[in-house]
């Protein structure tokens, strides 16, 4: 144990890099789309229209009460046909990647919505009234006054959530998508160095997350939060 043949690692570097690209693709798309959808959900949550509020609240509660593994399986096993016809995908596209991205986006949106909602609450109500009194419309108030301040306060939390998402992407293992972890584990299985490859993958994630954590601490200091 722990006596890995480094030439194997060297040979599998291109494969590992491919896996890392898949991991990053999912992470970045899901963070961007999830944050956009999350903002919409958070805004809907404070809407004057009750049905919108209920819709947003039930979306968030629903996704927050299901395990991510189940969400991934739902999207992979149950709705791929629906997805491919809905998004009009050609048969060549990797349905696993698409369903993983959609699943992560839908799932993370619920968590981002909660973070953004909390951030919007931290902006004092007086500012909202002041902006309205200045003659801004509601949407102008939201876009120019509330959201910019809310996002400033939330930056560390959003980054941390991004890091959690980055870690969670390794769960695509269960739908057989070859991300960084799955690739490492597969190489390990075929070469007989499974423990070493899994440990290697773990340290890869560790380094990235450790750096992001350090960055979060720095951002917090910079923003004087």
């Amino acid at each position: 144990m722990f006596s890995i043949d480094w030439s194997i690692v060297q040979q599998s570097l291109p494969l590992l890099a491919q896996g890392a690209v898949v991991t990053l693709k999912i992470t970045i798309t899901a963070v961007a789309l999830g944050m956009a959808l999350g903002t919409l959900l958070a805004v809907a949550r404070i809407s004057v229209y009750a049905p919108l509020r209920w819709l947003s609240a039930s979306y968030v509660n629903c996704f927050r009460s299901i395990p991510l593994v189940m969400v991934l399986l739902w999207f992979y096993l149950i709705v791929p046909q629906f997805l491919s016809s809905f998004l009009d995908l050609s048969p060549q596209t990797d349905i696993r990647l698409v369903s993983a991205v959609v699943a992560f986006t839908a799932f993370e949106a619920a968590y981002y919505a909660e973070i953004i909602r909390a951030g919007m609450r931290s902006v004092s109500g007086g500012q909202y009234s002041a902006a309205l009194a200045l003659g801004m419309t509601k949407s102008q108030t939201l876009v120019y006054v509330i959201l910019p301040q809310a996002f400033r306060v939330m930056t560390p939390l959003l980054l941390t959530q991004g890091m959690i998402l980055f870690q969670d992407t390794s769960l695509v293992y269960i739908i057989g998508l070859a991300d960084f972890f799955r690739t490492a584990s597969n190489i390990g299985k075929t070469t007989g160095y499974e423990i070493d490859m899994v440990l290697l993958a773990g340290s890869g994630y560790f380094v990235v997350c450790f750096c992001v954590s350090a960055a979060v601490t720095m951002v917090k200091k910079r923003l004087k939060l």
């Binding site: 009460s65 189940m70 390794s170 769960l171 972890f181 499974e194 994630y205 997350c209």
Partner: protein, 250 residues
């Protein structure tokens, strides 16, 4: 997505093996997930409390050990941790114990123990952070007052700091517990037949995808609901008459 022909009766039909219905598969999965959650929570609570207390001690070395634990277990994805426990941990046991564990112990119990450790250590790091922030949220005066009254440091923790800190952190601990119940689904990757694994089995053998997945999802919701209710009861029971919302100015 056609909402096809629902057939909830499927759960009362005979499963392909064992003289049981599909419903009992569901119940089995539910009980396994519940048992795993309870065992892992006990482990996580003990580890989290221990390292959380370490992090608040005046000793530099001890607090660094606490920080190290959190750093390691929070920065590695859960599924990777499951695999490391699964692949490496049994080999770290003494030779005889390792052989017994791997070849003589019922595989289901093996997977259960491995999953408990993986989930417990992972969640422990989160609990540790909550315990630390709970202790640090108390005003410094409490620690100084207790020490000035002649209590030793362990006594200060036992009788003054911890009782207050734990009361404050019941709500965040509840949400960690809910997260843990959800994270327990990862245990299906190392072979434990819990709820998620049962969902796959149900799908595979019964062929009723929607019914199986809706039932399992509902089972998770039920478990989470039970956790929330019981923590609410606990919180009300533990509340001190002098404690208002924050608990800071006791």
């Amino acid at each position: 997505m056609q909402a096809a022909n629902w057939n909830w009766g499927i759960f009362f039909e005979q499963a392909p093996f064992g003289n049981v219905t599909y419903f009992s598969w569901l119940v089995d999965g539910f009980l396994t997930t519940a048992a795993l959650s309870i065992c892992a929570w006990i482990l996580a609570f003990l580890l989290g409390s221990f390292f959380g207390i370490l992090r608040t001690l005046p000793n530099k070395i001890l607090s660094t050990i606490g920080a190290l634990y959190v750093t390691i277990f929070r920065n590695i994805p859960l599924i990777v941790q499951f695999f490391i426990w699964y692949l490496a941990a049994p080999d770290l046991l003494p030779y005889k114990a390792s052989v017994w564990f791997k070849s003589e112990l019922d595989p289901n119990i093996q997977f259960f123990i491995i999953s408990t450790c993986a989930l417990g250590f992972f969640t422990g790091a989160r609990v540790c952070e909550q315990v630390r922030s709970g202790i640090q949220a108390l005003s410094h005066g409490q620690r100084y007052a207790a020490l000035a009254l002649g209590l030793t440091l362990p006594q200060t923790y036992r009788h003054v700091l911890l009782p207050n800190a734990y009361r404050i952190i019941i709500p965040p601990l509840t949400s960690e517990m809910l997260n843990m119940v959800k994270n327990s689904a990862v245990a299906s990757t190392v072979g434990l037949i819990e709820l998620t694994a049962q969902a796959n089995r149900l799908l595979e053998f019964s062929g009723y995808a929607y019914e199986s997945f809706i039932a399992v999802t509902a089972a998770y919701a039920l478990l989470n609901f039970a956790v929330m209710r019981s923590m609410k009861v606990l919180e009300n029971k533990m509340r001190l008459p002098s404690m208002n919302a924050g608990g800071k100015n006791v």
